[in-house]
């Protein structure tokens, strides 16, 4: 999956540069997050502002990252959700699991 990553002190900002997150690319995304966890990086902000479409596989990859970050006493926070993407979190009740912020700055300040 096309990502742009930036490290801000001990936080990794991951900007997803794909319009779709689905079963075709979410497996790779899980592996990309696992590589960061293996390097000891466990405070992640995922910027979804470029993502127009997410399916259950994309949500599953984010849940995987969330669980891995939490298990390492870190966290995975989301920001920049387009309205239809936000509605997917509500449909599946995952908005109760994730911390969701409007902007990268807000997510960063919450750490």
């Amino acid at each position: 999956m096309q990502l742009k990553t930036e490290e801000i002190e001990d936080i990794v900002l991951i900007e997803i540069q794909e319009e779709r997150m689905d079963a075709h690319n979410s497996g790779t995304f899980k592996e990309q997050m696992l590589a960061l966890f293996d390097e000891g990086k466990c405070k992640l902000i995922i910027d979804l502002s470029a993502v127009r479409f997410v399916d259950s596989s994309g949500l599953g990859a984010l849940v995987s990252g969330f669980k891995n970050a939490s298990a390492r006493e870190g966290s995975l926070k989301l920001c920049g959700l387009q309205p239809q993407v936000r509605s997917m979190f509500e449909l599946t009740r995952l908005h109760r699991v994730f911390e969701i912020f409007v902007s990268v700055d807000e997510a960063q300040e919450s750490f």
Binding site: A23, H24, S56, S57, S64, F66, L91, T92, R96, V97
Partner: protein, 140 residues
């Protein structure tokens, strides 16, 4: 006379075609004649339902076998959208896929739940030598 649009598509058993089918579904909704609801929402939902149903067929029913195929039939009238996704696998038990069995932090299992939430009728059955997942959404 009521207009009917029917689209038949066959794709290899590969997830790389999901985006293509999703776009076809969205374009179909935007071309519907008399739909008075929110087209953007309906287009997104059709994209999503097609993506979930085809992913399910590729990964669970056809078990990622590259030699198998998926057939998709989309039928749109002024009254309803009807989708059929055919797979060549052993099938699965739709009744066992309930959100009630899931924890919020499970990574898999949301696809069928999403389809059930967005469509008015969902049915999975054996038909000749293959399986078909049938989904209907009423438009009024």
């Amino acid at each position: 006379m009521s207009e009917t649009v029917e689209v038949y598509i066959t794709i290899p058993n590969q997830t790389r075609y999901l985006g293509l089918i999703g776009r076809i579904g969205e374009d179909l909704v935007h071309s519907l004649g008399r739909y008075t609801g929110d087209r953007e929402v309906l287009a997104y939902h059709l994209n999503l339902v097609l993506t979930e149903a085809i992913t399910n067929a590729i990964c669970h029913a056809n078990e990622n076998d590259p030699n198998k195929q998926i057939q998709i039939q989309i039928s749109a009238t002024e009254e309803a959208l009807s989708i059929k996704v055919f797979d060549e696998g052993e099938g699965f038990d739709l009744a066992k896929r309930q959100l009630g069995d899931m924890r919020e932090t499970d990574e898999c299992g949301r696809g069928i739940h999403i389809i059930r939430r967005l469509m008015d009728q969902v049915n999975y059955r054996r038909s000749d030598n293959r399986n078909v997942l049938e989904m209907v959404k009423k438009l009024h």
